[in-house]
């Protein structure tokens, strides 16, 4: 219970926002983007932060989910849920097949391989224009409905994304304290030592890779329906890097780190709009300052400070009573 106290606060805040500001553009529209980025960052953190395997191609799986939904519903008239399932199956198979050879690589080589994967998938979206609509993308997805209720307003989309995001965050928090989470941490620590304890490291790495890919894929499907439009631009190499930045900025290996990183990187551009031409420059400067002064990540640094203060306070009160 105590362990999840932070999560409950976060969940309540997320669900309260639209009740407090039902007509706000920031809540409903920006909120969906924030939720999307949170799920993507949290899923990437499972792979990067927990298992210690870098990926510079995470946007590829996000894109594959989005395009599966868009292409199968628009070009082939498939039911949206069926299309989403087809996307999930395709991504499961693809990521599983790729995971074994790719995750045998380490460090810079793994970074290169995943980077390549991201670029290839992006080029595919651009080039396979008879399916994907090429650089212009495709639009006109059917309305997604849950148990007969169509998701047809910004507010309903917010709820959908918020619940999906909260479920993903809860899952990620729980996995850290499970047997699988310890296996991931062992792989991160030392693969040899992990094997000595009976952890099948190749299997663990492949499972977390597939899992994080599938989570990104589902997010992509929802995103495509919500945007009602997909184009290759949303799934480029730059977006993969942005996701890595979110995870690192918030604090590698911490679920809430990924959450905070995602929120910050999603909101900062909106706030910085007032600086007009200097927006990107200031954005970069902020990132640099954070990483120089808080190299362990924003959230992890905040958490440490919080516990230090808490400790000092409890020590202080103990002194008083004694």
């Amino acid at each position: 219970m105590k362990r999840l106290a932070g999560y409950y606060c976060f969940a309540i805040a997320t669900l309260m926002l639209p009740l407090l500001f039902p007509d706000s553009y920031y809540v409903t529209v920006v909120g969906v983007t924030v939720c999307t980025n949170i799920v993507l960052a949290v899923s990437l953190n499972l792979l990067m932060g927990y298992a210690g395997q870098i990926s510079l191609g995470h946007a590829a799986f996000f894109g594959l989910g989005a395009y599966s939904s868009a292409v199968l519903t628009i070009k082939y008239g498939m039911n949206p849920w069926l299309a989403m399932t087809a996307g999930v199956i395709a991504v499961t198979v693809l990521s599983y097949v790729l995971s074994r050879p790719i995750l045998r690589l380490k460090g810079h080589y793994l970074a290169m391989a995943t980077l390549g994967l991201g670029i290839i998938v992006h080029i595919f979206f651009v080039q396979a224009d008879q399916f994907t609509g090429g650089p212009d993308g495709i639009s006109g997805l059917p309305v997604l409905s849950i148990l007969g209720y169509p998701i047809d307003s910004d507010l309903k989309w917010y709820w959908t994304f918020a619940i999906f995001m909260l479920a993903s965050v809860l899952f990620s928090l729980n996995i850290a304290h499970s047997r699988s989470g310890r296996a991931l941490a062992a792989v991160h620590g030392s693969e040899i030592a992990a094997q000595m304890l009976g952890v099948d490291t190749a299997k663990v790495k492949s499972h977390v890779f597939v899992f994080s890919a599938v989570l990104a894929c589902i997010t992509g499907s929802l995103f495509a329906h919500q945007q009602d439009f997909v184009s290759p631009e949303s799934f480029s190499f730059f977006f993969s890097i942005e996701l890595v930045t979110m995870v690192v900025l918030g604090g590698l290996g911490s679920t809430f780190g990924a959450v905070i990183g995602a929120i910050l990187l999603s909101l900062l551009p909106e706030v910085l709009l007032v600086f007009e031409d200097f927006e990107v420059m200031i954005f970069g400067a902020i990132l640099m300052v954070i990483m120089i002064f808080l190299p362990q990540g924003l959230f992890v640094a905040m958490e440490e400070t919080f516990f230090r203060l808490l400790k000092r306070k409890s020590q202080g009160s103990a002194d008083v009573t004694s």
């Binding site: 310890r182 941490a185 062992a186 620590g189 030392s190 030592a193 094997q195 000595m196 304890l197 009976g198």
Partner: protein, 244 residues
């Protein structure tokens, strides 16, 4: 229990183990002694499956285990406390111990708690430090953790690679005593030790490994009296040292 027959292991062009044959009977403590670079670690790593031997056989309880995955070998009942500690630094003592039980899929939470309690009663220091991250433990504490973690696998055969490396004499005693304890509770032990005198004292049998070949083998008490071994591994004045 464990039979190694004509084992050959190489790292690329370097031929490390040359026709090594040995066996460990149920209930024994068997030591392997040898100079630095003789291939002791390589032998243990070959048995636990982290490196695949080029030829020969490793048979554990009647089953051929060379070529199968390290994870599978652990679940068959062989645990390996590796050389140089190899604890998971960012994880706590508790988490490290729980990871030790990773291969015991069927064990209940209660059983694991009990086993952790047993490790703590052997190494009370670990109990005090249970929530500390392993990276911040002292070298000796890390060594205790590495042994405790291997015990958590509840192995029938426990392989220890230089468990007393770099420890103060008093801690060496604790470790040696723990090994004897574990053995008397039914765990068979394959021990690699630099401290050959101590190892021979507690072992039933021993093998001497010299540049990848077994050159001498026999009951530990006989080996301890062997003049060549005394000269090479125990040091001329080993009695003087031991009396201190």
């Amino acid at each position: 229990m464990l039979h190694v027959k004509n084992l050959n292991t190489r790292y690329g062009p370097i031929h490390v183990l040359k026709n090594v044959s040995l066996h460990v009977n149920q209930g024994e403590i068997v030591s392997i002694i040898g100079a630095n670079g003789a291939g002791k670690t390589t032998l243990l790593v070959s048995i636990s499956g982290l490196i695949t031997p080029v030829s020969g056989e490793i048979i554990f309880e009647g089953q051929r285990i060379n070529g199968i995955s390290p994870a599978k070998i652990v679940s068959l009942g062989i645990a390996h406390a590796p050389e140089g500690r190899q604890v998971f630094s960012p994880l706590t003592v508790m988490e490290n111990l729980r990871l030790g039980a990773f291969a015991r899929k069927k064990a209940s939470e209660q059983e694991i708690e009990d086993d952790i309690g047993e490790v703590f009663s052997l190494f009370p220091r670990l109990r005090e430090r249970q929530d500390q991250t392993a990276g911040t433990l002292s070298g000796g504490e890390q060594q205790m953790l590495a042994i405790g973690r291997a015990m958590m696998a509840k192995p029938r055969l426990l392989m220890l690679d230089e468990p007393s490396l770099g420890l103060a004499p008093k801690l060496v005693e604790v470790i040696i005593k723990t090994v004897v304890d574990l053995n008397s509770k039914g765990t068979t032990i394959l021990l690699v030790e630099q401290n050959a005198r101590k190892a021979l004292e507690i072992s039933h049998r021993a093998y001497v490994l010299e540049t990848g070949r077994i050159t001498i083998q026999g009951p530990a008490s006989e080996l301890a009296e062997d003049s060549e071994i005394r000269r090479a591994y125990l040091g001329k004045d080993y009695r003087d040292i031991s009396e201190r």
